[in-house]
């Protein structure tokens, strides 16, 4: 007789990330770089976008799974262990938090506080060190001269979740961006990382 657990429980070693943003903010390449960072540490990682005919500004979602064995699952990430929100204007338009458990991690790209974003009560259910706001767009503007928050958010991700090291994020970033651009992006990631670690 086939016994089937009807509720999905992801036990074990897998760590699932879902990144929300808008087209043009580097959501997809952020997920890809995260997977490269995990790979460089010897993990198996999978990254893919939720595909669509997007254009600049349209909501975009990308996913990354990290595990110490082969990732075979192909469905979108329904139960993220970590949620990264690259654009807070999505907050009341898209159901961003679907599937995020109260022991998960939450990172939002904003200079405002969670309370100012109307999420004060929502974040109370999380361990305080699991949630963070990151002024990623501002760091990006300062270090790379463009408001592309994805790399800074990855630095913050490393700091908050400790699932990948900052140096892996930096290596992944340098793999994608050569020369000075790589240096600048790496600095943005490091800045975001430090801003969290020192809080």
């Amino acid at each position: 007789m086939l016994l089937v657990r009807e509720t999905q429980e992801f036990g074990g070693s897998i760590f699932q990330v879902r990144i929300h943003g808008r087209g043009g903010q580097g959501v997809v390449s952020g997920a890809e770089m995260l997977s490269v960072a995990a790979f460089l540490e010897g993990y198996h990682a999978q990254a893919f976008p939720s595909f669509g005919s997007e254009r600049m500004g349209a909501p975009v979602v990308a996913f990354c799974r990290i595990d110490n064995k082969e990732v075979r699952l192909r469905e979108p990430v329904m139960m993220p262990d970590a949620l990264i929100v690259q654009d807070p204007t999505l907050l009341h338009q898209v159901d961003l938090f679907k599937g995020l458990d109260t022991c998960g991690y939450l990172l939002i790209n904003t200079r405002r506080s969670y309370r100012d974003l109307g999420l004060g009560d929502y974040v109370k259910r999380f361990p305080p060190h699991h949630i963070s706001t990151v002024a990623a767009t501002e760091w990006a503007q300062e270090y790379i001269g463009r408001p592309l928050p994805n790399v800074a958010l990855l630095g913050a991700f490393a700091a908050v979740t400790r699932r990948v090291k900052l140096e892996s994020v930096v290596a992944a970033v340098r793999q994608k961006f050569p020369g000075k651009l790589g240096d600048d992006n790496a600095a943005a990631a490091a800045k975001a990382y430090d801003s969290i670690r020192t809080n």
């Binding site: 005919s53 254009r55 600049m56 500004g57 349209a58």
Partner: protein, 111 residues
């Protein structure tokens, strides 16, 4: 069938100025884009980026075609940007009958 086909007029957002549709020139020389009665075959709400050249170009072509056919026009659209951004299900920007077929047969379908 569909009850949502009340024809939408074109909206000029820059009221009180003369900048839209070369209204600085005298009446006789203005193009059809200056007119409030301009046919609005592709209405607003499509998913193109603001200022998209294709959307603008398509509008101009349609204005001319609508004048030439006195509004009795059917549009046949090939697979491409225009088709995708004007018809994001379940909505459409088209106020004229429109059909999308394939990549390379728009002219044949129109025939």
């Amino acid at each position: 069938m569909s009850d949502m086909t009340a024809e939408q007029k074109v909206k000029f957002y820059q009221k009180g100025t003369f900048t839209a549709g070369n209204r600085l020139v005298d009446q006789a020389r203005r193009s059809v884009q200056a007119s409030m009665e301009r046919s609005n075959a592709i209405t607003s709400g499509h998913r193109a980026c603001q200022g998209c050249g294709e959307a603008l170009g398509a509008r101009y072509a349609l204005d001319a075609a609508m004048r030439a056919t006195e509004g009795r026009l059917i549009a046949v659209n090939a697979t491409g940007c225009l088709e995708v951004f004007t018809t994001p299900y379940p909505e459409t920007s088209w106020q004229v009958p429109w059909i999308h077929s394939l990549f390379g047969n728009a002219a044949a379908v129109a025939s």
